[in-house]
Symmetry: C3
Subunit: 341 residues, 3 copies
């Protein structure tokens, strides 16, 4: 299928600059741009590619000011990143989606399955499970007894959801993620440890996306809660009784220890660690690999392990790199003072 620049601009409420009749049939990255494809420029770091790209159309932010001549047609939009998201979504939606029930699968006779479903081969749907409308359960997914899944949710291959957990509407859970395994609770005893039974569950609200091979443990009592709009990347650990606030985003390999409370609209870089029983305010940003051992007030940006305010951390780290030199200077000063005395 061919699309004209003017039609794409119209769809995105953008403005064409250049040949409005040039056509594209695919998307590409600006650095690999091929003729008859559409690319986008959102990160200024990639600006230099726009002057040499062979892509026919480039989506740019409305305020983009080229510093050299361009051979491509521009479409100016309020946000190039949001606009490309719209186009990729359209492209994705053209891909046929699976539907129906593949065999063999295991569906308990008491399970309720809404309309518009896909149940892949080897999927396991336990006793009393309730699946909403337009739910897609890919092969090898395990939906334990009594689990509830809302409308329009997709659960990819090999996801494991333990008994009694709840997943909202419009959620996406990627392959291999485990929801509702026992929280890590052991009481010391004379002979080692006694397991603390974990009788709570996991509640995942609407519009949550969780990456691949992540783990969200069930609560000891009550619920581990992932609130509306949260986005978790791959290989993330969320321990028992944690609450992750609305629209908080965590990059891959973050770990949150038990009963920690994470605010709304936080952003964590990769491999961040959060200690148990602490509270992170709304809108907190954490640099990758930060280790947080105490509460953080709303709106702060922290870095380091143990983490503190990013601006201070960076200053301290600049001096850290000079420590051998600084050590030498101190030694010299001591000598000079001896001489003076």
């Amino acid at each position: 299928m061919e699309f004209k620049a003017k039609d794409i601009a119209s769809l995105l409420r953008g403005v064409v600059e250049g040949d409005e009749n040039v056509t594209v049939n695919n998307v590409s990255k600006i650095e690999e741009g091929k003729p008859h494809t559409l690319a986008f420029l959102a990160n200024p770091k990639y600006e230099h590619y726009i002057y040499t790209t062979r892509a026919s159309i480039v989506l740019v932010n409305a305020d983009f000011q080229p510093s050299a001549p361009l051979s491509c047609t521009l479409i100016r939009v309020p946000s190039a990143y949001e606009a490309i998201a719209v186009l990729l979504k359209m492209y994705e939606n053209m891909r046929p989606q699976p539907s129906g029930i593949e065999q063999p699968s295991f569906i308990h006779e008491t399970a309720e399955i809404g309309e518009g479903h896909y149940i892949g081969a080897f999927a396991y749907i336990g006793k009393g499970v309730k699946l909403g409308k337009n739910v897609r359960i890919y092969p090898h997914a395990y939906i334990g007894d009594g689990v509830k899944v809302g409308d329009n949710t997709t659960i990819y291959a090999g996801v494991k959801v333990y008994y009694g957990c709840e997943i909202g509407n419009f959620c996406t859970i990627h392959a291999g993620t485990v929801i509702g395994a026992d929280g890590f609770g052991f009481a010391p005893s004379t002979e080692g440890y006694n397991k603390v039974a974990q009788i709570g569950n996991v509640v995942i609200e609407d519009n949550v996306e969780i990456g691949a091979n992540s783990c969200i443990d069930r609560a000891t009592m009550g619920s581990t809660r992932i609130l509306k709009g949260v986005k978790l990347d791959n290989l993330i650990q969320i321990a028992h009784n944690v609450v992750v606030g609305e629209n908080t985003v965590m990059a891959a390999q973050c770990g949150v220890a038990g009963t920690a409370k994470i605010g709304a609209n936080c952003m964590f870089g990769g491999q961040v660690g959060i200690a148990g029983h602490i509270s992170i305010g709304d809108g907190v940003h954490l640099a990758a690999q930060s280790g947080v051992m105490g509460d953080i007030e709303a709106g702060k940006t922290f870095m380091g392990a143990p983490a503190f305010e990013v601006a201070q951390y960076k200053k301290a780290y600049v001096v850290f790199r000079k420590l051998p030199e600084l050590y030498g200077q101190l030694r010299d000063l001591k000598k000079e003072i001896q001489t003076l005395k």
Copy 2:
């Protein structure tokens, strides 16, 4: 079901303080305590909740001294944490457990399966596998050829156990964990790397619990060993030929490199990394995110990356945070000395 305070106290060998006939029908967290539920207070950090909780009964440590009036009934026990563990276990045990063999499943004709078993749908039991009594193998678990599993062990959905590995009695392996994948061994060659075949196995002793999506690699030769009573959380990496000593506990996302030897009764925080070929003594504690590059003597507590003794680390880190200030002071001193000269 309703339980009276006096009956619970009798069961737990505790002492009632307040209305011994008050009843509960569920458990709750002290901060969310509802009427007719039982909560517990073990961590002093949560003490303030006891003065306002609506829970009808609260389990406390025998030496708890309230600093304000209480409206709940107390049950004093030697250890509130151990006592709640007993109650949660009873609650958990009331939940019906699956049994029998679900279909379709794959059980090799040479496999031996003890009494009291559960084999979930889509479970794979390979050639020559031996499962003890009361073993539960959940759906999508893969038990490779020749694997041995002891009595009363539970293997959750989607666990993969490669050929020839051994798992003891009373073990619990959570969903998605992989036991016995090849150790990461490659010998440099002129054209890249040649794989070193990993012909050993993994041996997991009794009373071990392993969380979700963890990995225990098979040994190059001999065995990777997880000794009695070890508790490993989610997303942990144990490399080939590692030995983890009895009753050692590791929080999520720890990684132990090849041939490291970890002592007994160690406690590692989350995201700790242990270098290969080193030895960690018994009873070593490591703060979260520690990176250990050399041997550690028994009984030490280390922190940092590279890790050293925690008290020293914390002192060094206090100064690290002041480094910009310290740097300024040094500069000032240099000036003053110039002036003096």
Copy 3:
């Protein structure tokens, strides 16, 4: 089966020192060496074991100079590590390999499967999949629609490969690894985040080995690429649009953020983190737990978080450990200067 020292030496092009007719029937680790087994010594750290090992034969590097009498027979080879790899490979190859198609499995009628295959029970082979010759797909593996797998590749139990990804020849993918899940891309919107559809794929070239429970995300557009000969350990995260260069090796739990470009022949220790959109040159070595926030030139060795050159880092860290002392010295100097003034 029994093997004589002289026959093993002949096979490995080595030289016997001691009884050339002594026989072995198994391999063992030098520290656990038993009679009638063959051990090897490659890491000088283990040299002391050779003087007491009960192994009948020990493979050593050609230049090994014993510092005490030996009771074992030596076989000197150019590289003991490469030689043991050859022997272990032979041992491994004697183990019978599965073949044929186990039931139940799901193979779409349009899938093409080469000769010499093994398709385990509960494996899912999607629409239009193409598997080369001698491909082994273990139980519970999910091979999504349109996936291509080259010759002689092994995909272990429970691996999930999303639609449209490509895997080369002579690759090994260990259990639980997820290839081609959506990259982590979201555009901020007024109500949270809008998902950016990820319409690219993952391309894995020849001779790649990937450990267990790792994640390689599909590209937003184009491909995430793992080039020839790369070796990735367990629990590794490779984000969308990353390129990992030829023969690069990463230890467990490394994470590489989106669009980073990693050169050839790099070696990363465990738990390393690489920021998005940066470029790491060829032959870069990174110490375990390094955090890399900017480009690194070819051939460098870095350490720390944020990482810089390892020699400098180690010097700075030596002073870091002395910071409390250094702080005291500075305070003393200030006093002395006050006195002098």
